[in-house]
């Protein structure tokens, strides 16, 4: 398929799109109801992360730091700062769970997280997420895996109506909600892990800013073991599915690379029809499929003459490139923040693990950019069209409600992209 470039000889990142593992971990913990993410490291990692998500979601973000200082870094194996942090957090709030995740600092000195976790005496899930390895997507996935391994009780029987959805990090709150709704329309009881659709969806409520509000509850996570079916979305979530299956021999698993575009949406519906024996979908779903078909036709002329650069996380690239490709969009370049087995499958002419300096160097290859808000300066300077997607997006409001998935989201996404391409052409001729 694509020509994939993974290794680069560049000694640095210039204008990075890569985000760190601990940040992905924080976000995953924010999908657990009344959780307090606790980042183990110096205070800055936490502060940056808090500001980053606050600006992206326009919501208060709950997070605390173990605030490791230079003296502690030398003397403490993590015991003091973690135990003390939990004590101090619990003086003010009563979280349902502490989500302990590391940064590069304690990992460099080799803190024994597991050992400390056993001494805390408070509900806690720990995960090693050094920021000198992996990225945003893997931080989220490792956390999901840790939540399963450390919380889910093994079970011997299955409830055929219960379904666990494991979404990758780049799915927005409304997208997760829409997948849940579609599956629920087949009579399933769906639980998403993590679940941002009820925590960071941007709803007005009496916010307890000190803790995450909404998301899957700890009790629900503990009892995921009797689900009859597991659906993972995104290559990064395969491992989480694998560990969940170990909790119950009767559980079955289906994997989707992504859920964007007609074919992927069809295959999810096909699966649900097979599983349930239903002979049709709701009239609304049927209608949206027709609208997506129409959107593909209405946008094909514009997209067919547009060369597109897509920038983002690997699992996000897979879906976005596919839906654009299917409507004739020519994805000439996809820039991935990190390496992933997913890159092989991306529908693009060229796939590169890289940064926005690479995007700039390849400026001749595309007319339109789909990417995060760091792409704005680039699009402006190079006079390219722009559709803002992914983390961070500090330029627009309403990010939790951006919906590119399944039949409905696909239709909206194609229209938005085709319109952006037309606007770009109007401006540049």
């Amino acid at each position: 398929m694509a020509e994939v470039t993974r290794k680069r000889d560049k000694p640095l990142q210039v204008n990075p799109v890569k985000l760190s593992q601990p940040m992905g971990a924080t976000l995953a913990f924010l999908g657990v109801d009344r959780c307090m993410p606790l980042m183990h490291g110096a205070q800055g990692c936490t502060s940056f992360t808090k500001v980053f998500f606050t600006r992206h979601f326009c919501e208060p973000i709950a997070i605390q730091t173990t605030a490791v200082t230079d003296a502690l870094a030398v003397l403490d194996g993590g015991d003091y700062s973690i135990v003390e942090s939990v004590k101090n957090i619990c003086k003010k709030v009563s979280p349902s769970l502490i989500g302990l995740h590391t940064t590069g600092l304690p990992e460099t000195k080799g803190d024994d997280l597991r050992g400390v976790a056993s001494k805390v005496g408070y509900p806690l899930v720990y995960v090693n997420t050094p920021d000198y390895e992996g990225g945003f997507e893997s931080g989220w996935a490792l956390t999901c895996k840790a939540l399963i391994e450390q919380l889910v009780a093994p079970a011997a029987t299955v409830n055929d109506n219960k379904l666990v959805l494991l979404p990758h990090v780049s799915l927005t709150p409304i997208e997760v909600e829409n997948i849940k709704e579609l599956i629920e329309s087949f009579g399933f009881n769906v639980l998403a892990l993590p679940d941002l659709s009820t925590s960071l969806d941007g709803h007005l409520g009496e916010k307890q800013a000190a803790l995450s509000s909404g998301g899957i509850s700890v009790e629900e996570i503990k009892s995921l073991g009797d689900a009859g079916l597991v659906i993972s979305v995104g290559e990064s979530m395969r491992e989480s599915a694998r560990v969940l299956l170990q909790k119950n021999a009767g559980m079955r698993h289906h994997h989707f690379s992504h859920l964007q575009g007609l074919e992927a949406s069809d295959s999810l519906v096909e699966l649900l029809l097979d599983e349930t024996g239903f002979n049709g979908v709701t009239p609304k779903v049927e209608r949206w499929r027709q609208r997506l078909q129409d959107a593909m036709l209405d946008s094909h002329f514009s997209l067919g003459q547009t060369r597109i650069l897509v920038v983002g996380e690997p699992d996000q690239l897979a879906g976005t490139c596919k839906i654009l490709h299917d409507a004739g969009g020519r994805v000439t370049l996809a820039i991935s923040s990190v390496d992933s087995p997913q890159l092989e499958k991306i529908r693009a002419k060229r796939v590169l693990v890289g940064d926005l300096e690479d995007a700039e160097a390849a400026a001749d290859e595309y007319d339109l950019i789909v990417g995060n808000c760091h792409c704005q300066a680039l699009a402006h300077r190079l006079r390219k069209g722009l559709v803002l997607r992914g983390f961070p997006n500090w330029e627009e409001v309403g990010n939790p409600l951006k919906n590119d998935l399944l039949y409905e989201g696909g239709a909206y996404f194609l229209y938005e992209t085709a319109n952006a391409a037309e606007e770009m052409r109007r401006k540049t001729v």
């Binding site: 560049k10 985000l19 205070q43 230079d70 000198y132 916010k207």
Partner: protein, 450 residues
């Protein structure tokens, strides 16, 4: 010898208000109960606005990946605006085990080849400080090789807070840049602006007034700054500290080393802008300049009053509650008063003793200094009958519950409220907030709750 400044010395700043009393090291952060940025962020804030220099962060991806392009520090630099770029070595596990030095050397070479900046700042971070990468040596060698200053900045996050980091940033500039070049010409009215980062163009709200008065900004640390200028900063007649507690160590040392006196002021609101201009003129000690400044200030104030007339009716008898931190606890309060608001309360939880004293001065005896704003603000809105809450985003719900207008105090990160003209921006935004029906409307009960 290492160019690392002694942290202990920086924490024990004799020019700091609190050190005149009890000897106390600045507080260590408390695990699980700490907010605010780290030393690296502070150093980044103080030095990043140099648009003609590359800022290379030697560390894993969190440090830069989440923070580049977050501050709108504007510049007139005609070349490629390097403040809108992010450079990081993005160290990997391999570098942690075998050292990241080789990568750093190559990264500097790469930056010089592609962007030829006037200088490169190299920031150490927690991980690279811990594995002991020798950024001093690398910077020295790279400076010799490339012929431009290479500035090692030793402010890994774990050494402390954002405030300390800003001091460390200032320290790096003092050690490696200031005094390394002579200006082409000097004037009796050369000043440095210290701690003015030109966020959203704040500096440009008053810079033209300095120009008009014949006061030359020789160098800035670091808003719309140039490396060439800061290297000449030792020839200034006066250091002007703009709203920045953290850089008093730098100006004290410049006083000791180069005999440059300093004044500390704010350009926020009408009164403070006027006071600030007059303080600069007075400190430069020229009677003619003082007279010119008095005239200019009078003219500008009259011009501003004229333009504020539009808003007077809207703001008359309006009461505001302010919930922010640091010098904003009093500087925004003063600006609100300039517009005609009565500031009934301001949060001083995250403010220094000096800030609290100034807040008291502006608010008077009747004003409330909130030590626990999260709890107090809702009650005070009721008790005082406030019409406006000016606070961070998380207080929005309080305003809605109370059915009063809300303005996000962080809007200043998008739009300048500095100087005389910035006050008009603030006036317009507050007028819009007071007139906006949204705060009352969204508080409506749902039909099924009636």
């Amino acid at each position: 010898m290492s160019s690392k400044p002694k942290i202990k010395d920086l924490l024990d700043e004799s020019a700091c208000e609190h050190n005149k009393k009890k000897k106390q090291a600045c507080n260590a952060p408390k695990p699980g109960a700490t907010t605010g940025g780290c030393a690296f962020e502070g150093a980044q804030i103080s030095l990043f606005p140099y648009a003609d220099a590359a800022h290379l962060v030697h560390g894993p991806i969190t440090c830069l990946g989440s923070s580049w392009e977050t501050r709108a520090t504007k510049t007139t630099w005609p070349g490629r605006d390097l403040t809108r770029m992010g450079f990081t070595t993005d160290v990997s596990l391999n570098d942690v085990i075998f050292s990241g030095e080789e990568k750093l050397v190559k990264a500097i070479d790469d930056i010089m080849a592609r962007y030829s900046p006037e200088a490169v700042f190299v920031y150490s971070t927690c991980v690279t400080a811990m594995i002991g990468d020798d950024i001093d040596l690398i910077c020295r060698q790279a400076a010799a090789k490339h012929g431009v200053p290479m500035v090692p900045v030793h402010a890994p996050g774990f050494v402390g807070s954002k405030n300390l980091g800003s001091r460390l940033g200032g320290e790096a500039a003092l050690r490696h840049l200031i005094g390394t070049l002579e200006p082409e010409t000097t004037t009796p009215f050369d000043i440095n602006l210290i701690g003015e980062y030109n966020v959203t163009g704040d500096m440009w709200q008053y810079k033209h007034l300095l120009d008009k008065l014949g006061i030359r900004v020789l160098a800035t640390l670091s808003g719309d700054g140039r490396i060439k200028d800061i290297r000449c900063a030792h020839r200034a007649k006066l250091n002007v500290i703009v709203c920045a507690k953290s850089l008093v160590s730098l100006t004290r040392k410049m006083h000791e080393q180069y005999g440059i006196p300093s004044v500390s002021l704010s350009f926020y609101g009408k009164r403070d802008t006027s006071k600030g201009l007059l303080a600069i003129a007075a400190a430069l000690g020229d009677p003619g300049l003082v007279a010119r400044t008095e005239k200019l200030v009078a003219h500008e104030e009259a011009r501003l009053e004229e333009r504020l007339k539009l808003y007077r009716d809207v703001f008359v008898d309006k009461k505001a509650v302010l919930n922010t931190g640091g010098n904003k606890t009093w500087s925004i309060a003063a600006a609100l008063q300039d517009l005609g608001f009565e500031v009934v309360a301001t949060a001083v939880k995250k403010a220094t003793e000096d800030d609290r004293a100034r807040a008291r001065e502006y608010l008077g005896e009747k004003g409330v200094l909130m030590m626990n704003p999260g709890v107090e603000q809702a009650r005070l809105i009721d008790e005082k009958g406030a019409h406006l809450l000016l606070a961070g985003g998380r207080s929005l719900y309080t305003a809605i519950k109370k059915g009063i207008a809300f303005a996000d105090v962080n809007q200043e990160k998008k739009k300048s409220y500095g100087g005389y003209d910035g006050l008009l921006n603030l006036a317009e935004d507050l007028k819009n907030a007071l007139e906006n029906p949204v705060f009352k409307l969204v508080a409506r009960r749902a039909p099924w709750q009636k």
